[in-house]
Structures are given as structure tokens and as C-alpha cells.
Subunit: 227 residues, 2 copies
Amino acid sequence: MTQSIKVSVDAVVFGYTPEDGVSVLLIKRKNEPFKHSWALPGGLVRNDEALEDAVRRELKEEAGIDVQFMEQLYSFGMPDRDPRNRVISIAYYALVRPRDFQLSAQTDAEDVEWYSVTEVPKLAFDHKNILDYAIKRLRGKLAYEPIGFELLDKKFPFSDLERLYQSLLLQQIDRRNFKKKIMAYGFLEELAEYIQRGAGRPARLYQFNKKKYFELKKNGYNFDLFL
Amino acid sequence: MTQSIKVSVDAVVFGYTPEDGVSVLLIKRKNEPFKHSWALPGGLVRNDEALEDAVRRELKEEAGIDVQFMEQLYSFGMPDRDPRNRVISIAYYALVRPRDFQLSAQTDAEDVEWYSVTEVPKLAFDHKNILDYAIKRLRGKLAYEPIGFELLDKKFPFSDLERLYQSLLLQQIDRRNFKKKIMAYGFLEELAEYIQRGAGRPARLYQFNKKKYFELKKNGYNFDLFL
DNA sequence: CCAAAAGTGTTGTTGTTACACCCATGC
DNA sequence: GCATGGGTGTAACAACAACACTTTTGG
């Protein structure tokens, strides 16, 4: 018998705001199966479409967003993960700044929403698995590459970075040691600008220098930011 | 138009012998395309078969081997990676002790052979890519998990482990520091047996204690073996 | 003037690296 | 007795963790 397996992609899109911590983008399905359930954005790959392109298209179609950083996560292929046919899903994860986008449900989605990773609803298919896997990967990645910068504004006070790491790694961070370590890598630029939010002393702004980062990386540098 | 993408799996099986270093299992294709070319073992996934099962089946069918350690590597899905149809491949990598098996070409394979990773021939499809990716992953993995033990005999002299790491990480290792570090983890057992190979003082044998290793791992231990 | 958040150095401890000589065997 | 590979400890240095008070603002 000839093969009849469908190929789909799913995306775990992480966002971060200092107020709400880390959140994940979910859509409410418009169609069966799992009609009206929350799910990760995703869908079938077209015949001549690269996998990454399929992810970007689906994110555009279903949620109205474009992502910058994206990486393949894992492929999920258990024969019974979709109740209709055999569908394997190649999962990706991505990081965005939620404020950069206006969410808008389209085509296959009834609704789109950011959910805090600590409060995700029941998800369709094996999407809970995929999400858990992505969170684990994100933590690991964060620990040795400074990808967290994708989740912050272009210019940000140091405390935002600190809070990001704390909420992702679920542990206290010593402010002084953290700053020492990050600054030692040299890919973070101190600006002459300040921001003030509510009470407290105004905070100096910083920005990530990608060029410097890629230089360091190319020359075989090992980032080792915790564990 | 309905989706018509095929799903295959490919395996990068690594072997290691102290004499030949790290090698990879290749098969010579019996059929078009790339007839008579060397390639990674693999093939189409059956409709009701889990991905891992497909890999194991293909390895059995094409080379006559069973693997113990196996992990998913990455999914390769460029639209033009197969000249016939769109085929995405979910690649796995595995580690074995070559001496445990008698290779035997079967069904789709004209021949099966171990090739030193430093001397691989031209490979079919994008298999060179896949192999390079696997080598990179193997190095990374080896650096923070003691998976290398899959590549050694049950009981082995310490120098075998040392040579394994040297040939994989391509760097000199200080014998004393290496031993100190490894022994400190506590998952390696010193035996009261000795082996002698050629000239030189007989070497004490060691064995890997998986139970202890999994205990440590479960209790959230971080292995940090170099870089 | 009190609460809130930002900013800033030093010290003790721990881990990492570098390094060289003796031992047991085969030939 | 010489060549081959196995076995072992210490000291200098670098990295990491712990730690608390001052500054600037809003209310």
C-alpha cells in the first residue's frame, strides 16, 4: 500500500512582557477536529513549500504576525496524534515581542490570544506535549545563547533582562553577578538614555549588538550563561 | 490541490573502535535515484508506524543491525532534496559498538560498510548535510552527557574513553584532569580486572553504571564535560 | 520623608588548568 | 634494557557566589 501520511508544521511562539512574564500564542480552532479548542498555530505544508516558509505563512494567516527568530524544535510523529489521518508535525519555536504585533484571527482561526505559560488552557492534539518540549528547549537555549534579546524591546533597562531570565529560568538571580557576566561578553551596549517607569530611580537603557554577537560566535566563542 | 509529500527517515549510525576512531554506517543503493551511490540507511515510513520504529526497521532491513541509543536529530524538508518527489526526511542518529554486529546488506542495499568520518565518500541526496549536522550534534551532546559509553565495550580501560573523546572532540585531553573529572561524577565503576594489549603496563578495566547515571540525572544533575 | 527601583565592589571559595615522573609489561 | 602504554598529585590561577548600602525618583 502506498504511503498516505500528511505533513504539517506547528509553531510555539513565545512572547515576553515584563508585566505578564512569558506567554505563548494560541489560536482557537474554527474547524473539526477539536473545533473551538485552543491549539498551537500551524497547518499542512504545501507541496512546494519549504518547512520554514510554511510556518511563516501559517503564522501570518492564522494570527497576523511575522517572527524574526525561529528554530526547528522537534518532529512529532506518533501514528495516533491526529484522530483523522496519520499526520506528522514538524514543530518550530519562535520568539517575538508581543507589542510589535496586533493579533488578528483569520481564516482557520476563530480567535488568537497570548496565554501566560503558567496558565495555558487544554490544548488540541498533542499540543500540550509540544509546548512542554518547547519550554524545556527555550530554557536550555537561553542558558547558553543570549537569544532572550529577541523578547525585549530594542532598548531596554537592565532590569528587564534580569526579569526575563528570572521568569524563564524560575530562579533568583543576583543582580550584580548577572550584570557582570552579561557585560563581560561585550555584546550589550550601554546607552546614554534613561527610562523611568513609576517610582524609583530612572534606569539606563541598553541595547543588544547583534554584529558583535555574531562576530564572537563565529570566532568560536562559548557563551555559558548559567544553569 | 491535495498534499502529496512523502515522509522518510534516515539514520546516522556512529560506531567507534580504538583502532579506526569514529565511523559511520553507509549503504550502497541498489535502486534509482543515486543507484550505486553511498547513502545513509533509511526509507519511507509506513502508514501506521512510529518514526523510531521505521528507523529500526530500516536498519534491520538494510544493514542487519539493532541500535540501543537513538535520538531524533533534525527534519530536512527542502522541496528539492529528492529529485523525484517532495520527500521530507526525519533524521535520527544512533551509537553502536561495531563489533557487536555482523553487517549484512539486504533488500534495498547492494552493500553496507563502516566509513571513518574523516573519509566518507560522496553521498546521495543531501546526506552529506545530514551527516555533518549529526557530527556537530554528537560533539555537543558528548560534551555534556556521557553518551560516549554506548560506543565502548561493556568493560574498558580508561584510555579507551580518553581516546574516544579525543577523536570526537578533536583536541588533546590531559589524562589526569580527564580522569579526575569523570570519576568525580561517580557513574564509572572501577573493576578489579585488568586487560593488556600489546606492550605496556596492563590497564585496569572500568564500567559505566547506568543506574547511578540515571539517578544523578533525575535528581537534576548537570554534567559538564568540557568544551 | 517614605517607598520603590537602580546602581555599584570586594572577598572567600571552588573549580580548572598545567605540569612530570614512576610503573608494569613485551620484545 | 628499552620501548610502550598506564598510573598518579600538587600548586597557581581563574571563575563564581555571596553579600548590603547608596542613589534617584514619585507620591
